[in-house]
């Protein structure tokens, strides 16, 4: 795994921003209709800081992305994605390979679970992040991409137990979780860069 940090952050941020309307529509169906708006605000702030972020070592850069998300996104996704990136950056050492990334991601996901008091199976971003993490160490980008897509799709039939969608009870069934979709978008963007597609 080798890639230009600036390209990576830039691609991830733009991917989410480009899909903001889709994320909002998903959130209108089972939430309060702001997930795309929230993520766009946060990732546009990341883009505005791109020079400063890209100048840092990978770990510090990721931490700064996390802090920016915490301070700009708000809602449920702000603290959760903020925690994900911050802890990911904190744990990731100077040696970056499939194994260290998998380990750092695992640590970060634990913090997300603690912050959200949540688990997989509750129709949230964790339903993408956790299965993706499980296949990262193997380093097969096609597989990672496939797992992200399948996992996001798998949130459709779930009943939400966490997040605003949980207020709907049974009515949350039949819609993709917006946070699962944004996680999938982020994973895909990373894969694109690593495959030289972006």
């Amino acid at each position: 795994m080798t890639a230009d940090l600036r390209t990576l952050v830039d691609t991830v941020a733009r991917r989410v921003v480009d899909h903001a309307d889709e994320l909002t529509r998903l959130d209108q169906a089972i939430g309060d209709g702001d997930h795309g708006v929230n993520m766009r605000r946060g990732l546009e702030a990341v883009l505005a800081d791109l020079d400063a972020i890209a100048a840092k070592p990978a770990g510090d850069a990721l931490k700064q992305v996390g802090t920016t998300l915490v301070m700009k996104v708000g809602g449920a996704s702000g603290p959760l994605y903020g925690t994900l990136f911050s802890e990911f950056g904190k744990t990731l050492g100077p040696e970056i390979d499939a194994t260290t990334v998998a380990a750092a991601l695992a640590a970060a996901i634990e913090k997300v679970k603690a912050r959200g008091k949540s688990e997989t199976g509750q129709k949230t971003m964790l339903d993408v992040l956790v299965p993706v993490q499980a296949v990262v160490a193997a380093g097969d980008l096609a597989r990672i991409r496939a797992v992200a897509a399948e996992s996001a799709a798998a949130t459709v039939p779930m009943k939400a137990i966490r997040g605003r969608a949980s207020f709907l009870g049974e009515r949350s069934i039949g819609h993709m979780d917006p946070g699962a979709r944004s996680s999938q978008l982020i994973v895909e963007a990373v894969c694109d860069v690593l495959e030289g597609r972006a």
Partner: protein, 329 residues
């Protein structure tokens, strides 16, 4: 989208500027619009801070002032504010007696306030409100939402803070008021988040959402439009059932409009709800009717019932001087 705005990106800032200018005798807007704070805090008291997504006005900024909040942190529309906002607010209003956060139970709000509390320097305690009986609770769920009952908590705790109660006592009082408070809402129309540009949900001309929250999220069930009395039946039943054996006795009744319902209908609902609550053994000793915890321009209302104690009634009656609630001064 039909709104009196210039652009979705500037709604919040322009509205806050207007609010601060219209109430310059009461409040000051913090830098970068991170918070609205009291112009003249009462010296030495515990600082009360609340906040949440915007779009619920007058909650919370309209409750900043003597006898209620010291600061309110406005998030984007229907989006929890961020920890830096609470930290900046606390820095501005903490007087050394500690800070109490009053937080509506939404994961976004809870997590952001939690992060702020972790980063805070001084003593911080939190009261989480969760008065909405429309949401099923269970050990595994997110739990009930905090809705219009939050106003009652802020008013009663605000009054106690003014008399010099300490942080632990205020937290206990806030939890008690919350525990004695239940709400239930109904929506006749959806609402439109300015940045989204279209209504969050679509309702047929003959439909309504029963058990709705305050973020334009759909309710518990979509049902056919009913007469006001039938709506009141269902809402009051949900509230009294949830109180269970505690139902009855002296109570405060708040009929809260969601933003698009005229006063005429709110008072009609008050009439219907009051009769039903009295039948269920409540004595309505305090009342409030109006748009207080809104959901942008949503049509509909919520009922909130607080089981009064003498202390809570005294706190309710105590002087308050804010943009949206004022009496005794």
């Amino acid at each position: 989208m039909k709104k009196l705005i210039n652009a979705p990106e500037t709604v919040l800032a322009e509205s806050l500027s207007g609010f601060a200018a219209a109430h310059a005798d009461l409040v000051v807007l913090g830098e970068e619009n991170k918070f609205v704070r009291r112009l003249n805090p009462t010296p030495g008291k515990v600082a009360l801070i609340s906040g949440g997504g915007s779009g619920h006005e007058p909650l919370h900024a309209g409750f900043v002032g003597l006898g209620m909040l010291d600061a309110a942190c406005p998030g984007q529309v229907f989006t929890s504010p961020t920890p830096d906002q609470m930290l900046a607010a606390a820095a501005a209003v903490d007087q050394g007696a500690g800070t109490l956060y009053i937080v509506k139970n939404y994961e976004g709000d809870v997590m952001n306030f939690e992060m702020a509390a972790e980063m805070a320097e001084g003593a911080v305690a939190t009261v989480v409100t969760d008065d909405d009986v429309a949401v099923e609770t269970s050990t595994w769920s997110t739990g009930r939402r905090g809705v219009a009952g939050t106003l009652v908590v802020e008013k009663v705790v605000g009054a106690a803070a003014e008399t010099g109660a300490d942080l632990a006592a205020l937290q206990a009082l806030g939890r008690e008021v919350n525990a004695r408070t239940r709400s239930m809402g109904v929506a006749l129309t959806s609402c439109t988040v300015p940045a989204a540009g279209s209504p969050t949900f679509q309702l047929g001309d003959d439909e309504m959402e029963m058990g709705v929250g305050i973020h334009g999220e759909p309710g518990r069930r979509r049902v056919k439009l009913m007469a006001a009395d039938a709506i009141a039946d269902e809402m009051v039943s949900a509230i009294t059932a949830d109180f269970g054996a505690d139902a009855g006795g002296p109570a405060l009744l708040l009929v809260n409009g969601f933003g698009g319902t005229p006063a005429m209908e709110l008072y009609l609902m008050y009439h219907a709800a009051r009769a039903r609550l009295e039948k269920a053994g409540f004595r309505i000793e305090r009342s409030l009717v109006g748009n207080y915890v809104t959901s942008l321009e949503m049509a509909g209302c919520s009922l909130t019932v607080t089981r009064l104690t003498d202390d809570i009634a005294r706190g309710w009656d105590a002087p308050v001087h804010t943009a949206a609630l004022r009496w005794g001064v």
